[in-house]
């Protein structure tokens, strides 16, 4: 069987050791790195994403697949950089200032990475300035913010306002999510989109990138 197909299959099975081994072989065989990414790693995660959407896989299996994909990504990332091959888009993510809940934000990051986006994870308790500065410095097209508490939600508005103030709305879009947040809140503060979970974030970004 084609080695790229094998990589894809092993991602579907969530076998990170196998994916690491097969990706190493694919690199040694001088298969173009973009091909390994698109037809092996991303192809595998696409299948996983589709199965999850169709309720044929459960969240833990998607997360095992994501770990497997990362095992391959770590090997090809330096090669992608040296060949100047860009990822789909850069997304800065974080849990907003004052909030330390990061499990949801982490899951969104995992899913976006699995869909081929470059993720810059600022962690939790992130100030509005840090979100905006990082997006500017890194040339990120998206900022994804998470908040679990009603008291920390207003920080999202501070980020949106800062982007407006600096006339960056054309360059940087804001996505918000988390237990405290709703679509109507996103509309109220002028965020670009509300994403209710990781696969919804993937779906949204794939639809516009």
């Amino acid at each position: 069987m084609d080695i790229l197909q094998q990589i894809s299959d092993q991602i579907d099975l969530g076998d990170d050791e196998k994916v690491h081994e097969l990706t190493t072989t694919a690199i040694e065989q001088k298969i173009p790195v973009k091909k390994i990414l698109d037809e092996g790693l991303l192809q595998g995660m696409n299948i996983v994403g589709q199965k999850f959407k169709e309720h044929k896989l459960f969240l833990p299996e998607v997360l095992m697949a994501a770990k497997a994909m990362n095992a391959g990504m770590e090997l090809i990332k330096p090669l992608l950089l040296s060949d100047s091959i860009p990822m789909k888009a850069k997304v800065v993510i974080g849990t907003v200032r004052g909030d330390l809940h990061d499990i949801g934000k982490n899951l969104v990051g995992v899913m976006l990475k699995g869909a081929g986006f470059e993720i810059i994870d600022l962690g939790n308790d992130v100030t509005p300035e840090k979100f905006v500065e990082t997006a500017k410095t890194e040339g990120a097209e998206f900022i994804g913010m998470s908040a679990l508490l009603t008291t920390t939600m207003p920080v999202m508005k501070e980020v949106v306002d800062q982007i407006r103030k600096e006339n960056l709305e054309e360059k940087i879009q804001t996505l918000i999510g988390g237990a405290a947040v709703s679509r109507s809140y996103a509309e109220e503060i002028g965020a670009t989109a509300y994403c209710y979970d990781g696969s919804n974030a993937v779906e949204y970004l794939n639809s516009i990138v």
Partner: protein
Amino acid sequence: MVTFSINEIIPDRKVVYQSQGIKQEVSVPQKITNLYDYSLSLFTKNVEPKGLIKEISILEFSEIFQGNGENEEDAPVQHIFPLADSLALFALTLGKTISDTISDLFNRQDFALASMLDSIASASADKAASIAELNFRKSSKTFLYCPGYCGWHISGQQQIFKKLEPERIGISLNNQFLMIPLKSISGVLIAGDKEIHNFDNDFTFCAQCKTFSCIDKKDML
């Protein structure tokens, strides 16, 4: 001080699966079962459950409930607590180690394990709270109500902390009224006739609610 044994706060496997999006009626793949078992072994090794309980009067609680004056105009708790037989402030934590373990697993890219352990810990904290509800006043129906829910502003935590001092069991509050360690719960145990807990979920804030815990409570009445 309230003590919990680790065994009594181990959550029902089905509850954990549910929070992972796995419905009760489906057959669970072996690798998820193995993941759960391993997560549970990490949980029992790293959890350090501790609780505090302090009885207070209705009058004392009415001051605590006012908090910083940021509650919704009308909220269920304000109709329930004046009818209570007994009230007690309550706090519990599963300890810092379990939260650190979850973070470490994520950092090591063990996403599935981290997520499953997080679900176990959250369900365990809920189970510990249920045990406290059951043990508080056996002759009455007791429910725990927490700031941050049902119109009781989260800043209410500050007043609870002043009175209960959960710092004694290792819980602190940040300036956004978030408890640290994360796997902690605080609130008021309200005991009384079961009818006092019955309310219609048609308050202004109910439309935005994603927890539906009041429906679960109603089912238990």
